[in-house]
Amino acid sequence: MAEPVQPSGNQKEERVPVLQQILDNPFLLLFIGVVMPTVFYILWGVMEIVTIPIAN
């Protein structure tokens, strides 16, 4: 059986940090930038309004 290939020192060094991966992905940023205000501002706000009891 072949030995598992160990990553070389260079490969280890070139590993991109997680935050950098997020910052380099425009579509992930787009997802964050649309979902955050949609959930916390729009949906939460709309839910509060629609749950106001109707006056008798």
């Binding site: 910052l23 940023l29 649309v34 955050m36 949609t38 916390f40 501002y41 706000g45 709309v46």
Partner: protein
């Protein structure tokens, strides 16, 4: 089809021909709308000046509606689309993705703006920019706004497509430049903004033509402000990008820390749009948790990001100036800055005005308790004029002074006027805003034709101080409009009468060289304060903020006697 590129010998920037044409077209259209909106602004300010009181009430609300829509949406978004194409195609040395769609975007935006403009001119749609239901406007008022928004949305996707093209065709090394990243932030906020607009304006259009029986006013206000306020957050992201760009263009300044600046933009992406909630702070239908989370807890993270940018842009300039030998004392780097260059002076006045006037007052308005002192008074335009006019518009003007020779290959017309224009415009706008805030604190309402309430059944007599504040608002508003007119004359004059620059650059099918990775930022570890002058300025800002915040709470305590 082979792509055509040219390299500007003056700046080294690479222009893709279709992108260059579209950048010019969007920017010129923006400036034309700025001129129209400025004339309407002059009429508004001459009416709110009590001693002049120029327009009739009907005409005032009509003109105010036009001024708001043209300045807050049309001028600024046309210019931002030009910035998006510049930051993607030009800065990444890439072809513009789908130029035909970009042309469609332009046509929809222009057509939409024209349709809404006609609706306002016809007189049946004097509903202000907010167009709160159940106050009805003509159906084509909403239709024009929807078409404009669809066009802007297409422009955003052309920008995103160009990022994809640049990455796939490997036109740059490493990550996208910081300025392009800031433009990406603006684009993302624009997409949320337009989606919010679609959610509320499409049903409102259907209501106006009779397909829907009613629109809940509170629901309208919450969702509309997701568009109305977020559209101003596009401006913030875009003008911060312009600050970074101008610091690099004028001084060769590199960000003090790319990682910190990018993280600050990430905070904008996640939190900046939530600040829309401060418009709903006195509405009874939404709970305190929603209000406090959106305006305070989350918004302060966005405020933190603005403070990071406000520190790192002048900090980067200071480091660059000190490397050039301006090291005497705390502020030689600032004294020896090119204050006669409108590209720099416009940017710096924008930065200071945005931070000290727009930023601090934004936090005051986002605090539920002290918001009550000034809610819906003329303090509110006193806040957003330094944000959108002093901050965004002046930053865009500064960038235009750089782009006229580079993009249009013309020398500036009346360079002496260009030199003074940022000061006239900045001085006028800053003082107009301060006096608006003063009048608002005394209770003068915004969007009100007559502060004397002549002939009203329930009148209120404002004191002499409020009248004086509104008079000074009028005087400095006129100064601001003069500054704006100077800009339009210089720019239009440059395009029509400006001396042509001998530029031998031709369009070729040769692909531009790959954009190399920028040089690493200098290591600042162990050197103490590398930008001590900026640190002192930051402390002055902090002290101003604390004092002003405290004064507002003190004023609130006098409004609500606790004894």
């Amino acid at each position: 089809m082979s792509e055509l590129f040219r390299t500007c010998p003056r700046s080294g920037l690479v222009f893709h021909k279709p992108a260059e044409t579209l950048i010019k077209l969007n920017a010129v259209t923006a400036v034309v709308f700025l001129a129209v909106g400025g004339i309407l602004g002059l009429l508004v300010v001459m009416t709110r000046w009590p001693a002049v009181h120029l327009l009739s009430s009907e005409l005032f609300y009509q003109v105010l509606t036009g001024h708001g829509i043209i300045m807050l949406l049309v001028w600024i978004i046309f210019f931002e689309i030009a910035i998006l194409y510049f930051c993607s195609s030009t800065l990444l040395r890439s072809r513009l993705a789908t130029p035909r769609w970009a042309w469609l975007a332009y046509a929809l935006m222009l057509g939409g703006a024209a349709i809404t403009g006609v609706a306002i001119l016809q007189g049946g749609s004097s509903v202000m920019m907010t167009s709160y239901v159940p106050m009805p406007a003509a159906p084509h008022f909403y239709l024009g706004l929807i078409l404009f928004a669809v066009g802007a949305l297409i422009g955003c996707f052309v920008f995103l497509g160009t990022l994809v093209v640049a990455k796939n065709e490997r036109t740059y090394e490493g990550s996208i430049p910081l300025v392009t990243f800031g433009a990406l932030t603006a684009c993302i906020i624009a997409i949320f903004t337009i989606a919010s607009g679609a959610i509320i304006l499409i049903p409102t259009f259907l209501w106006s033509v009779g397909y829907i029986s009613e629109i809940d006013p509170l629901m309208y206000r919450v969702i509309w402000w997701g568009m109305g306020h977020s559209s101003q957050q596009i401006n913030v992201s875009a003008h911060v990008s312009v600050w970074y760009a101008i610091a690099a263009i004028v001084f060769g300044a590199r960000p003090m820390s790319e990682r910190v600046s990018r993280t600050a933009f990430l905070l904008y992406i996640a939190f900046l749009q939530l600040a829309s909630a401060h418009h709903i702070l006195v509405d009874p239908g939404v709970g305190t948790e929603w209000k406090i989370f959106n305006t305070s807890y989350a918004m302060y993270l966005a405020v933190l990001a603005s403070m990071v940018h406000g520190l790192t842009v002048p900090g980067a300039i200071e480091v660059a100036q000190r490397e050039k030998g301006y090291t005497n004392g705390m502020f030689e780097w600032l004294r020896k800055a090119p204050w006669g260059n409108p590209v720099f002076s416009g940017m710096f006045i924008s930065l200071v005005g945005f931070g000290f006037l727009g930023g601090i007052t934004g936090v005051v308005m986002g605090t539920e308790q002290i918001n009550l002192i000034i809610h819906n008074t003329i303090y509110v335009p006193g806040h957003f004029h330094p944000t959108v006019v002093l901050g965004t518009t002046l930053a865009f003007m500064a960038l235009t002074y750089f782009l006229v020779p580079v993009l249009f290959r013309r020398e500036l017309f009346l360079p002496g006027w260009a030199k003074w224009q940022p000061y006239v415009f900045g001085f006028g706008t800053a003082l107009m805003s301060l006096f608006m805030m003063g009048a608002g604190t005394l209770g003068v309402a915004r969007r009100h034709w007559d502060m004397a309430f002549s002939g009203a059944p329930f009148s209120f007599e404002f004191g002499g101080a409020a009248y004086m504040m509104m008079g000074l608002t009028g005087i400095f508003g006129v100064v601001s409009v003069i500054g704006g007119a100077m800009f339009v004359i210089v720019v239009v004059g440059s395009l029509v009468l400006g001396k042509k620059i001998e530029d031998k650059s031709e369009y070729t099918t040769t692909r531009p060289a790959i954009l190399p990775l920028g040089p690493a930022a200098p290591a600042h570890h162990g050197k103490g304060f590398v930008a001590p002058g900026t640190f002192v300025l930051a402390l002055v800002f902090l002290a101003t903020f604390v004092v002003y915040y405290f004064l507002n709470w003190m004023y609130l305590s006098s409004v609500w006697p606790m004894n």
